[in-house]
């Protein structure tokens, strides 16, 4: 059952090509989860989030200065190596500078039919952001319409909103199940489930998910280790989670843009569809690059830790990720004050197992070793 999500994760390109074959529709690769997928889906476009492949590579050095995060370089490498040759277009919603370069270099060096830069507001906490974003979503909708030559009706938007909401609600149920004392699935499986949702048709994913949820009770439960949460930047690194769980832990929840930040809240259907979508993205758990002047992430993270009864947090971020680097010390401090120990690690393209395993082992020993004293 879970295999389907794992297959989607590993064979993401085959899936997208097959989808295109099957539906004759357009596929748009996107950067950053502030992209309003509702509108793309309303236009019968398959949005796929562009992620890296976790292999060392030598093709991006001429395009992106080495002080920018490994993730943005890994993503660009996929484009330069032609791994996404089936894309009809790419787009980005404005957030951090790092991934923005992946978009601009990709648009410049990988020939494509269509590309779109959505200047998403950063000051999401300001009253001014809403009217601005609604207008931008309107412009974006028009751009999609003129590209596809097909008008996007209110009914289409309602469908887009509905598809995304159902998809997210299903993931919420999955995370609910992870609250159990002995979660029916581990962090690796959960990562497959959530990340694949950013790669495939959401209706299909929601269906597969509800089917999977149905099998959870009867499922043989993996051994439960120390309950951990993962906090930080983009993280789709299966090898990393496998390493952490192999040391005797179970990841039960996360605050990643590849995880909960991506699917946390739904759009509230209303007369003004674009307003509903705008509100959804303005009020979602924020990326640190938009989480100011108030740092709303901290209470949210503490709430997750509390509701999922975590014993420790692994705070990780892409190396050089400035927005996260500006949040990390405050988050670690806040967790500490709640009595939750944390382990900080920097993500690179590959996981230096030797060094990280020792840290992870020691961290878990720290939490559990009491019986030997």
């Amino acid at each position: 059952m879970i295999e389907r999500f794992a297959d989607w994760y590993t064979a993401r390109h085959d899936y997208a090509k097959a989808w295109k074959e099957r539906t004759g529709g357009k596929v748009v690769g996107y950067f950053c989860t502030y992209v309003p997928e509702e509108i793309l889906i309303a236009a019968d476009i398959l949005p796929v989030r562009i992620l890296g492949s976790h292999e060392p590579q030598s093709v991006t050095e001429p395009h992106i200065f080495g002080m920018f995060c490994p993730f943005c370089r890994d993503c660009l490498a996929q484009g330069l190596k032609g791994r996404y040759d089936y894309l009809d277009g790419i787009m980005i919603a404005q957030s951090c500078l790092h991934i923005r370069q992946t978009f601009t270099s990709w648009a410049k060096h990988v020939p494509l039919d269509w590309s779109y830069y959505l200047p998403f507001p950063n000051h999401v906490q300001s009253q001014a952001a809403r009217p601005y974003l609604i207008k931008e979503l309107g412009l974006f909708k028009e751009a999609v319409e003129s590209w596809t030559g097909k008008e996007i009706s209110d009914a289409d938007l309602d469908r887009g909103i509905q598809v995304c909401n159902d998809f997210r609600s299903a993931l919420h149920q999955l995370y609910e199940a992870r609250k159990a004392d002995d979660p029916p699935l581990n962090g690796v499986e959960a990562m497959y489930a959530v990340v694949s949702g950013q790669l495939v048709d959401k209706t299909e994913h929601a269906a597969a998910m509800s089917e999977f949820l149905g099998t959870l009770d009867g499922r043989e439960r993996p051994e439960t280790g120390v309950r951990l949460m993962l906090v930080g930047s983009e993280n789709d690194d299966i090898e990393f989670v496998e390493m952490v769980e192999s040391c005797g832990s179970t990841v039960v929840t996360d605050d990643h843009c590849t995880g909960t930040r991506y699917f946390w809240n739904n759009a509230q259907p209303g007369e003004d569809r674009l307003a509903s979508i705008a509100d959804r993205y303005l009020t979602r758990p924020a990326c640190p690059s938009k989480d100011w002047p108030t740092r709303s992430r901290v209470p949210h993270i503490l709430d997750l830790a509390d509701r999922w009864a975590v014993q420790g947090a692994v705070v990780l971020q892409q190396k050089f990720c400035d927005p996260h680097e500006a949040d990390t010390p405050s988050i670690i401090e806040a967790l500490k004050n709640k009595g939750i120990p944390s382990l900080f690690l920097e993500l690179d393209v590959t996981v230096p197992v030797g060094q990280f395993k020792t840290r992870a082992d020691a961290f878990l020993e720290m939490i559990t070793a009491d019986d030997l004293f």
Binding site: P56, Q57, S58, E61, P62, P352, Q355
Partner: protein
């Protein structure tokens, strides 16, 4: 006309003597702490081979990190230009020159007449230089001159980021403890440094032919990894460590005084 090219590198001093463009003598000496002395010794060795006295030299050009310590108050030339002139001389088709020494790596794009069109130098990190393989060789307890051949016996690729040499070393140690075959680790090491070097080379652009010079070019494992990463064959001139000294000597012959 007799000219001398002296390349005072981080590890070795290399000297080439030319008579009207023909090599008539070469000398090599470990740089050590006494740079001046070593440079003079290397020059003496070259003079001996050419059966000449220092006074016979019409002009000397020095290059390399320690060029200001070269004897005979020479004209100074940077490693970048020396590498370009030398490489294009030994191989007229050279357009991208990769020079990897003990502590520095550089890539140069050249014009057909050996002029520098563009260049990139490995920034403050050992992961892109010979020092990296040396450190790894020690971790592998394999003599550095054997590590190249060893990696050719590898049967699988292990992705490893060339970051801090010491940090990478601990990866090597972990791999050893995990019973990974030494050959595979050796290849991982060469892939890592090749990745670094090729990234730098791509900056200046890969225009065939690609010629690799400098002491590390003798490392067959490194060359193998570079070719795999570049997806094309590269050329390694014989005695690659002398190419920059040769470039300096040629420059001496060509600069109008």
């Amino acid at each position: 006309m007799i000219t001398a090219g002296i390349d005072v590198g981080a590890k070795w001093v290399k000297v080439v003597l030319l008579r009207d463009g023909e090599i008539i003598g070469r000398g090599r000496e470990l740089t050590g702490f006494e740079q001046k002395e070593s440079a003079s010794k290397a020059l003496a060795a070259a003079l001996q081979e050419a059966e000449l006295q220092e006074t016979h030299i019409d002009r000397t050009v020095a290059t390399g990190a320690g060029r200001n310590d070269a004897p005979g108050n020479p004209i100074e030339l940077t490693e970048v230009t020396a590498a370009a002139i030398g490489a294009v001389h030994v191989d007229g088709s050279a357009r991208t020159v990769i020079d990897v020494g003990a502590e520095e790596g550089r890539a140069v794009r050249t014009s057909e007449d050996g002029k520098v069109v563009d260049f990139a130098v490995n920034e403050k990190c050992a992961a892109g230089s010979g020092a990296f393989t040396e450190a790894m060789a020690r971790a592998l307890e394999t003599p550095v001159e054997q590590i190249g051949a060893l990696s050719l016996e590898s049967s699988q690729a292990i992705p490893m980021n060339a970051q801090c040499a010491v940090f990478a070393e601990s990866e090597v140690v972990s791999l050893l403890h995990a019973k990974t075959p030494k050959a595979d680790i050796a290849r991982a090491v060469h892939d890592a440094i090749a990745n670094r070097i090729v990234s730098m080379a791509r900056k200046v652009g890969i225009n065939e032919e690609v010629v690799v010079i400098g002491g590390v070019a003798r490392n067959v494992g490194f060359i193998d990894s570079v070719e795999r990463e570049l997806e094309l064959k590269v050329k390694v001139p014989e005695d690659p460590e002398y190419v920059s000294a040769l470039g300096a000597a040629l420059h001496a012959a060509n600069t109008e005084a």
